[in-house]
């Protein structure tokens, strides 16, 4: 019953049904239905202001949908306590928004909310994975935009989420770091059988990473399907 779109044997890890949000008169997200399976990467592309960030915020339940819903492993997300939901559906926002203090404190923040203390070795290994070895003791106020963005990604990964929401995670990075982060995303999704939704304005990035692509315009999902078809890779 839960699978309407896609192959019936692959139950969706993350699904939205007619998901919409209005703010006053403004329609931010309008009737978006989609499915992503475990181990799959979905790219969301579309012009700026199309509602991509607004859509991700709904999945993390930072905003409340005005209609429609989100299913996590076929379970309505409203039946999951918001804090647990957000731990399981991790999000890295378009802007890093680090907490004042050290890089290590930022990375340990998520687990600490559940009373778990990350060891120094765990912090170091997360930092190594995002290409920032030896950054643990640095103060966040001295980081470049690209470094901050990678610390934010490591901070989200520290929570070991089942679903990873990434809002333009490489927008502040130079070309070599971009490839490093893309490799990391591919590796982590594969090894943890994670589900990943990534917003990008870079079509080439969507082609490199995503199994499926959704094109958004004016809050709507215009097209969704295999990346090779949607973006007509020649």
């Amino acid at each position: 019953m839960p699978t309407e779109i896609g192959s019936p044997d692959a139950a969706a890890a993350l699904e939205t049904r007619h998901l919409s949000r209005r703010a006053g008169e403004r329609v931010l997200v309008s009737d978006v239905s989609m499915q992503v399976s475990a181990g799959e990467i979905l790219a969301i592309v579309g012009p700026s202001g199309a509602g991509k960030s607004s859509f991700l915020r709904l999945l993390n339940r930072l905003d409340e949908p005005t209609s429609g819903t989100v299913l996590l492993n076929s379970r309505d997300f409203r039946s999951i306590a918001p804090r647990e939901l957000r731990r399981r559906i991790g999000m890295s926002m378009q802007t890093a928004y680090l907490f004042p203090g050290t890089v290590a404190a930022n990375i340990a923040f998520g687990p600490r909310q559940r009373g778990e203390i990350l060891s120094c070795a765990q912090v170091d290994s997360l930092l190594e994975r995002v290409g920032l070895p030896g950054f643990a003791a640095r103060d966040v106020s001295n980081l470049s935009g690209g470094e901050a963005q990678r610390v934010a990604l490591a901070r989200t990964l520290a929570n070991e989420p089942e679903v990873l929401l990434l809002d333009e995670p490489t927008s502040a990075l130079d070309e070599t770091s971009v490839r490093g982060i893309e490799d990391l995303i591919l590796t982590i999704v594969r090894e943890r059988q994670m589900t990943c939704v990534i917003v990008t304005h870079n079509r080439a990035q969507a082609i490199r990473l995503a199994d499926k692509t959704m094109v958004m315009e004016a809050g709507r999902s215009v097209t969704i399907g295999p990346t090779s078809e949607v973006l007509r890779v020649g």
Binding site: G24, N60, R61, L62, D63, E64, R78, P82, R83, E84, R86, R87, G90, M91, M93, T95, Y97, L98, F99, F109, G110, Q113, R114, A152, R155, T156, N159
Partner: protein, 270 residues
Amino acid sequence: MLAELQNSIGNDVLMGLAQAVGAIALCAAVVALCGWQSVHVEREAAVSMVRGLVQMVLVGAVLALLLSGSLPIGSLILLMMTIAAAFTAARRLKGMSGALPLCFWSIGGGAGTIIAVMLVTRSLQPDISILVPVGSMIIANAMNACAQAIERFRAEILAHVGQIEAGLSLGAEPSITVATYLQSGVYASLLPRLDMMKSLGLVWIPGVMAGMVVSGANPVYAAIYQFIVVAMILAASGITGLVAVVLMRAQVFSAAAQLTLRPTETQRTG
């Protein structure tokens, strides 16, 4: 009560009225002097002096009536003052829904607790002539503390929406994500009162003490009593600031732990 009113309309009142006439005459002379230099304030001066005199005579008459009153009447007056203070503080927070009850409970909680403690410990007489002026000082300070705490807390939240939502998105309890901003709010409400305490006696001798000395109390006792009043103002402001930010914290998050206070939304309603 009538007997007391008649008593107070004795020689003192006649003497006072004579002095008031003298004061008015002096003001009239100054106004005339201004007119000589083509600064015409005659009409305004006359109107404001008549208003001022009438208002003060009325206040005096009400006080004279109330001097014979009891604790319930005093408490009622303080309650009215608290309601007026809540309206004033809430007006400074326009655009925020539920501001009025929030201000009422925090001002009433802070000032009410402290006034009750002072009455129970007998550091405040249940006599209207003391209860009302001291109580009103405490309420007025609690009112400012309330507005200062909430204004600061709101400004800090609006300046850190990104960090707060980053914390929420990592699974933090809403109260954790605003803890430092809540502290800033309480601190902002206490700071003016702490400065007041520091300047006590150096740059500022408050009215209660001056009044007590004038009416013949031992100056040392009057000074200590004044310190007690300022300390109680500080305590009331602290309670008010705390209650205000804690109540406000409950309002800025939805049941699903979403931050509902956003710059755009306050701009729209405010």
